[in-house]
């Protein structure tokens, strides 16, 4: 199997690849907690965070991961305005090649944009979220968080809840969790369910109480305001009434079930603060911590392959 030069999607990855990345990330999680660093690993390498869409937390997480490994990290935020000036994605690619970037982290509002860039740049491309397609490092950090708490992924039942149709986080998690042997349920209103969900081998629930029955993990997704204005959901309060996670609903899950959210949260829309802030049940803070470790592992692996390719 030819190792991938880029990380564009979880779909198509094999269990050993995912397992090795998680093992490496685990070791970085321990290293980070011990306060030590690995600043020689990517010394002299350039990492560019190219964000066409705002995301403070993902960008910061990649920035921190790059710096802990010794890379020179540059943040480029490409606002809609420069796109409007007529500069295309491929113009941007040419610019980046001229700068001799080694690792390129891309966030874009269009599905497939990182794949398009990957065809044109010399750098290793890491998809940091593209449109409604994938967000691979989010799924990896979610998996690492679960694995550290539960010791495994296979055999677990995970309910992914909310706006699944428009969620790249959901897609990456669906591929990763099912590849690693977990059972995935999708819970949400029919208008926010992706077409063909059943054909992906998933159980679909429109009744959240039934969907949470006996699950090990409840993974909440962010509901964007735009879904209300476009008439997919009538109002935030109606959404919370039927698909919001509160303590009563969480009681349907296993007694030790854990709650996750990729952030940023809409408190009172998809999740109740009492659940989100309950240290016994909520993994939300730990997800952020594991995010840095997972991104260090990804940069490490792709950075080494870059050196070998040169």
């Amino acid at each position: 199997m030819q190792p991938q030069r880029h990380l564009l999607a979880i779909e198509g990855m094999y269990p050993p690849e995912i397992g090795q990345l998680l093992d490496l990330a685990e070791s970085y999680a321990l290293l980070n907690r011990s306060g030590k660093t690995q600043r020689d690993l990517l010394r002299g390498r350039t990492l560019i965070n190219l964000f066409f869409e705002d995301s403070t937390r993902t960008r910061t997480s990649f920035e921190l991961a790059g710096k802990r490994l010794g890379a020179d990290v540059i943040n480029m935020s490409v606002s809609a305005s420069s796109v409007n000036k007529g500069e295309t994605l491929l113009d941007t690619a040419a610019t980046l090649n001229a700068m001799q970037c080694d690792l390129l982290v891309v966030r874009h509002d269009q599905s497939g944009a990182p794949a398009l860039l990957a065809q044109k740049v010399d750098a290793a491309v890491i998809n940091a979220g593209d449109g409604t397609h994938e967000h691979p490092t989010q799924a990896l950090l979610d998996a690492l968080t679960i694995r550290r708490r539960r010791g495994r992924l296979d055999g677990l039942t995970v309910a992914i809840c909310g706006d699944i149709a428009h969620s790249r986080v959901a897609r990456s998690n669906i591929y990763l969790l099912t590849t690693m042997g977990a059972a995935v349920r999708l819970v949400g209103p029919p208008t926010l369910m992706p077409a063909g969900a059943e054909r992906l081998g998933l159980q679909v629930f429109h009744d959240m109480d039934a969907g949470l029955e006996g699950v090990d993990i409840v993974m909440m997704l962010r509901l964007q305001r735009e879904r209300m204005t476009r008439g997919l959901v009538p109002s935030a309060r109606e959404f919370f009434r039927f698909y919001g996670l509160d303590a009563a609903r969480l009681a349907r899950a296993r007694p030790d079930a854990l709650v996750m959210h990729p952030g940023p949260m809409n408190r009172g829309v998809e999740i109740d603060s009492a659940v989100a802030d309950d240290p016994a049940r909520s993994l939300i803070r730990e997800q952020v911590e594991m995010g840095v470790a997972v991104r260090m592992a990804v940069l490490d692996v792709l950075g080494r392959r870059q050196i070998r390719n040169v």
Binding site: E11, T88, L89, L90, H108, Q110, S111, G112, A113, A115, L116, D130, G131, T132, H133, E134, R168, R171, P194, A195, G196, A197, R199, L200
Partner: protein, 424 residues
């Protein structure tokens, strides 16, 4: 121009039932005679066809020219070059250009520009509504008088039911079919692929299959109400062809065409975000592709049109949802259609009829026939000669073929317009 004898050819003309070996004599740009045992007059140029098929020049009933307004994509001159290479001698040009063809002077202009190429008859479609905006009815009578072959708003559907009813009704006074782009605009808005598992995996906004059948079902009822002549462009779903099959059975004046991508490719061609396979309507699941191929055989589909939509690299080298929809199709129209013949189910005579006599009848064209006295618009092709489609090496300007890399059997050897050789 010297007179011409095409000798040792297989004459194939569904309009006259001609199907057999022989030769064809051209004098003064017209077909003088044909048959198995014509003599060899001394004063003519003789072309030995070596057993290749000679059929009428193809009649392509759905082409976007690029002119006026999008000359960076295609010009009439470059389209004429690609058409000649594809064996096409008559094409119907879509009116959603810039400006839209919604004025009699523009209809006249396009016809003249076609004549000026010397290789191509352009039959202009005129807009159904001013500017193809779907609001006010265009001057259908005056446009028809100026020579509009039929009416359409191009790749925009007439969304308003009331307006569609009125144009179907009003156009009856002047002749000329109403050609609809069958796609419900509100269901299609923002969509980039057919809704389903594949679009979900790619994270692309989907258009449900029923967006096509909804418009077809509605408009068939309006054709029944008004007695109007209705045609659907590029039909692509199983449900749509079933609705049209029933409308024809009922005796309504309802016809349709499809384009090669819809019987040759399925939606998996857009995998890896290949924007050259982004079309409108989007490519469909395999079951729909099979239904379109079957509807070619049973006669439900009246014509195969290239649905040529020229785009340049900058229109296509974008993230998939932002890339412009449409594929170049002039040079591959015959080859992809012949793949259905070599696949064994469509007969050669049916294939040629779908590309010549049947669209010619829908458009009121004098082409599409080898009848004695008709203009000598001819296409000579070898049904088995192999070639490969290569984007970047296609005739004409537009290179955005969805068939890049496809190996084909069946190649145009020569094209004649009014007796003059324009290709080969």
């Amino acid at each position: 121009m010297p007179d011409l004898l095409l000798d040792h050819v297989h004459l194939l003309d569904p309009s006259t039932g001609l199907d057999g070996s022989g030769s064809l004599l051209v004098r003064g740009g017209r077909i003088l005679d044909h048959g198995p045992a014509l003599g060899r007059p001394d004063d003519v140029e003789i072309i030995d066809g070596d057993g290749a098929i000679l059929c009428p020049g193809l009649v392509d009933m759905r082409v976007a020219l690029g002119e006026p307004g999008f000359e960076y994509r295609e010009t009439i001159a470059s389209a004429a070059q690609a058409a000649a290479a594809g064996g096409i001698t008559t094409l119907a040009a879509l009116p959603d250009s810039a400006p839209a063809i919604d004025d009699p002077a523009l209809v006249f202009l396009l016809r003249s520009r076609g004549e000026a190429t010397g290789s191509l008859t352009i039959l202009p479609y005129a807009a159904i509504t001013r500017g193809c905006r779907g609001e006010e009815m265009a001057e259908l009578g005056l446009l028809r008088e100026a020579g509009a072959a039929a009416f359409t708003d191009g790749k925009r559907a007439v969304a308003s039911t009331q307006l569609m009813r009125r144009v179907l009704s009003y156009a009856r006074a002047f002749g000329g079919r109403i050609v609809q782009h069958p796609e419900d605009p509100s269901l299609a808005e923002g969509g980039a692929a057919t809704e389903g598992e594949l679009a979900t995996r790619l994270g692309l906004p989907g258009i449900p299959l029923v967006a096509e059948a909804i418009i077809v079902a509605r408009d068939v009822r309006l054709a029944r109400l008004t007695g109007g002549a209705l045609h659907f462009g590029h039909v692509s779903t199983a449900e749509t062809v079933e609705l049209i099959r029933r409308a024809k059975h009922e005796g309504l004046d309802v016809t349709c065409d499809t384009a090669p991508p819809y019987f040759d490719l399925n939606e998996t061609a857009i995998g890896d975000y290949r924007t050259y396979s982004k079309l409108s309507p989007p490519l469909r699941p395999e079951a729909d592709r099979q239904a379109i191929a079957a509807a070619l055989i049973d006669g439900t589909i009246d014509a195969i049109a290239s649905d040529h939509q020229p785009r340049d690299a900058d229109d296509k080298r974008l993230p998939f949802a932002q890339a412009s929809a449409g594929g170049a199709g002039l040079a591959t129209l015959l080859g992809i259609t012949l793949a259905q013949v070599h696949g064994g189910r469509l007969s050669m005579a049916q294939a040629v009829a779908l590309l010549t006599s049947r669209p010619a009848r829908l458009l009121g064209s004098r082409g599409g026939t080898l009848a004695r006295g008709a203009p000598a618009d001819l296409c000579l092709f070898h049904p088995e000669r192999a070639w490969q489609v290569q984007a970047g090496r296609m005739p004409g300007k537009a290179q955005n073929t969805p068939f890049d890399g496809r190996a084909l059997e069946g190649r145009v050897l020569g094209t004649w317009k009014a007796g003059r050789r324009v290709f080969g």
